[in-house]
Point group: C2
Chain length 159, copies 2
């Protein structure tokens, strides 16, 4: 019962950040996303691609499937902004963000409470036995904070 | 057992954000904190005062005690930045942030696992019976995301 509660609290927090991000993205034009969020900082499109790639990478990390947008990894995870000459359009990145969020939601809805307390794929069974907090739920908690961190930055694109 | 795990995961996430904030604050001078984090946005000192006030308000919200820095509420919670002529110095605000964080840590360490699943003070016993997720832990989860959001913005003060 209280595990169920914990899963609800964690997913509520995740969904709140995703919804806030969607709300902001709906208010921003593709042109605004081309701007840097602050002088000499990442562009909106870079952060959007970064968040989509991080979402997408959660699938294998949580043992829920393969990445759908692995072509984003190099540009948005391995390299800093403005180091790759040609990057996907804002419109394409919005699609990657939306689809990766929807895919996570679909998978989360299909998991049982116990599934959330099971290990993620980057911890060995041996280490997990000693450190049972290294579970799927913990990945979601940390990605929620990661999303909030960049959402605070993306909010500066609003007029 | 798994409730204990949940408390650990939630406090680990909180502490990680607090530690990241402390690390950033240690790298910033009082002069840098006087700058806006982005053009026409909040100043560093305002965000610092805001985070200290939000920390401090968690004490009564969690039923752990009275506020210590209620004099911050008006300037940093009710009003936007640059609407109050004289605000506390960066040095004083650093002290409020440090003391409020330390106070929360002290209180969290004294709580039992069940205490974290008990209701916070802004929900009635009647509503809590129907919505048991409105507990102390949920407040900490939401404040962790709030901190991450503003930390992403404060990070722009670094050179």
């Amino acid at each position: 019962m209280s595990n169920q509660l914990t899963v609800k609290m964690t997913l509520d927090a995740w969904n709140a950040q995703v919804n806030n991000t969607n709300k902001l993205l709906n208010e921003l034009t593709d042109e605004q996303l081309q701007n840097e969020v602050a002088p000499n900082r990442n562009r909106g499109v870079y952060l959007l691609g970064h968040l989509a790639a991080v979402n997408d990478k959660m699938l294998p990390l949580l043992g829920l499937g393969e990445q759908s947008f692995a072509h984003l990894n190099e540009t948005f995870l391995s390299k800093p902004d403005k180091s790759v000459a040609e990057i996907p359009t804002a419109s394409e990145l919005r699609k990657c963000w939306n689809e990766s969020s929807a895919s996570l939601t679909k998978h989360f809805n299909a998991l049982s409470t116990d599934d959330f307390f099971a290990k993620h794929t980057s911890v060995s069974a041996e280490d997990f036995a000693k450190e049972p907090h290294r579970n799927r739920l913990n990945v979601i908690i940390s990605r929620t904070n990661h999303l909030a961190y960049h959402l605070g930055q993306l909010s500066f694109l609003k007029k």
